[in-house]
């Protein structure tokens, strides 16, 4: 099956926190309108990779292209204005600010007028009705599920072309995980390209068009959910086996 032309393309990427790269030689692509998963065990380097793409970390090697333009080395705050949004791990909202202010801060970069900001905020409230009731409350007082929804809403009001989400279902009850996937379905239906890091493998593979498996900072396997399902590669990656064992499947 052929994939759509890439809107986000990563090539030969190396990145880490000190001199030693955590992620090495990574190549991946997200096609226009595609939903793509990035799977891997704890500590595989998934979050590190997302941080490099979104500009929080500077890659030591490699190329990142967004809609055909090189973006490696650009600051995170700049990339937000270019249509790339990254919903970070751990429901990273501004806990002391109100829910409404959090959503407004999501639009900081866009220079929108008051009316347009209010309109987009209302759209977000329509997608997440629970947030509307809590609009004046401090975001830190929301439940875990509501906080995750707020983090997603904060990115969505920017109308990103590519949305990267880092474990949005982490720590949520199963019914809320279903809710997260329902929202992701809506987002994808709007034509947003999605790069999803997740640990709930079954549900994620049921949702995406394509998936990469990261093990020890390298891509250990890649394929459609059907292709990956025929092998043991995903399970092995989560058991933390060395990439060498997995190469045949890649």
């Amino acid at each position: 099956m052929s994939r759509p032309e890439p809107i986000l393309a990563v090539d030969g990427l190396a990145v880490g926190y000190g001199v030693v790269p955590i992620v090495r030689d990574v190549a991946l692509a997200v096609g226009r309108g595609e939903a793509v998963a990035l799977l891997g065990a704890n500590g595989a380097g998934k979050s590190t990779l997302l941080k490099a793409i979104s500009g929080l970390l500077k890659p030591s090697a490699g190329r990142i292209r967004l809609a055909g333009k090189d973006i490696q080395g650009l600051a995170a705050e700049t990339l937000v204005g270019r249509g790339l949004s990254h919903v970070a791990e751990g429901r990273r909202i501004f806990r002391k600010e109100s829910v409404a202010d959090n959503i407004q801060l999501g639009m900081y970069r866009l220079g929108l007028g008051r009316a347009e900001m209010a309109r987009r905020r209302d759209e977000a409230f329509t997608l997440f009705p629970a947030l509307r009731e809590k609009a004046p409350a401090a975001a830190g007082t929301l439940s875990g599920g509501q906080q995750q929804m707020l983090a997603i809403a904060q990115a969505l009001v920017r109308r990103p072309s590519v949305l990267m989400l880092d474990e949005p279902s982490l720590g949520l009850a199963p019914i809320l995980v279903d809710e997260v996937f329902r929202v992701l379905g809506d987002i994808r239906a709007q034509g947003v390209s999605v790069l999803l890091v997740e640990q709930v493998v079954e549900q994620t593979l049921g949702f995406v068009d394509f998936a990469y498996v990261l093990a020890n900072g390298r891509i250990a396997a890649a394929g459609t959910p059907a292709e990956l399902g025929r092998t043991d590669v995903v399970r092995q990656a989560y058991l933390g086996r060395a990439p060498a064992d997995l190469e045949g499947a890649a």
Binding site: E77, V80, S85, A88, K96, E97, L105
Partner: protein
């Protein structure tokens, strides 16, 4: 001692307290997006006073025009300080407390340059338009309208600062940077820009403090360090980041200092003041508002 005398001391205490509060507020403004206390903040007050003397007395510029120039010049110097003494340290995660040395160094350079340029004699600066240094008496209360102007301007400016953080998107963005720097960047908020802006505004605010305080204390290059110390006292009593707390703290410091002049010799006045501040902080380690600000998760 008569009631009139005590009231006069209180008025001058409250007035100086408003000045200390403004120094504390300027420390808060620069601290918010950076977690850095700008130790040059007292010298910016001094610069405001000296610039005002140069422009209004020397060049005979009208008060408003002179003040506008002072604010622009001080803002530019605040920006320069941020670029030279703060940004390089913040960019390097391993230099967590280097700002103590670098902002102090900047303040020393400012002080010595000013001594060269202006000399060390105290100079007179004109009062705020409409106010005067003449004493007015109402009942037992004696005060000058310049004193009233300082108190009112301190309160108004603190209200404006609070309004900015609570009601404008840029203000909220500064709070967002304070809470989560990387989280802010992922929302398109540039901590770099807001840090530069905050340092410039804090410096200009300090300089404004100098412009309105100078008619009362006289403009002299030696006032910076004393104001920085009193500003920190106000900050500690009011609670770091709490601007209205700073106003209360500043007035307390000002009044204790002023009333102690009755009995204590000048040398002991500072000791007495320090003892009061320390005693207060022993009882309330996080300042007057500390109880409400306990541990946020």
């Amino acid at each position: 001692m008569s009631l009139e005398d005590i009231l006069a001391l209180l008025v001058s205490g409250v007035t100086m307290g408003a000045v200390y509060a403004m120094v504390a507020v300027s420390l808060n403004i620069a601290f918010k997006p950076t977690n850095v206390f700008n130790l040059a903040q007292g010298e910016f007050v001094m610069l405001g006073a000296m610039f005002a003397w140069g422009l209004m007395t020397g060049w005979s510029l009208p008060w408003l025009a002179g003040t506008a120039l002072v604010l622009v010049a001080a803002g530019a110097l605040g920006l320069l300080e941020e670029r030279l003494a703060v940004a390089p340290l913040l960019a390097n995660a391993r230099h967590h407390h280097g700002w103590i040395i670098s902002t102090l160094a900047f303040s020393i350079v400012v002080l010595h340059t000013s001594d060269r340029v202006y000399g060390t004699d105290p100079q007179a600066v004109p009062p705020v338009p409409g106010a005067s240094l003449d004493m007015v008496q109402i009942g037992a209360l004696t005060f000058s309208t310049q004193q009233v102007a300082v108190i009112v301007l301190a309160a108004l400016s603190i209200a404006a600062v609070e309004w900015f953080y609570r009601s404008t998107l840029v203000g909220k963005a500064v709070l967002a940077v304070a809470e989560d720097r990387d989280g802010a960047r992922l929302n398109g908020i540039s901590p770099l820009t807001l840090t530069m802006g905050s340092f410039a505004v804090a410096a200009a605010y300090s300089a404004f403090t100098g412009v309105i305080a100078a008619p009362l204390v006289l403009a002299s290059t030696s006032i910076g360090m004393m104001l920085l110390v009193k500003g920190f006292m106000a900050l500690a009593i009011g609670g770091v980041g709490n601007n209205w707390g700073a106003l209360a703290g500043g007035m307390l410091v000002g009044c204790v200092e002023s009333l102690s002049s009755v009995s204590a010799t000048p040398g002991y006045r500072q000791v007495l003041l320090l003892a009061v501040v320390l005693a207060l902080l022993l009882v309330r380690p996080h300042g007057l508002a500390g109880a409400r600000l306990t541990r946020e998760v």
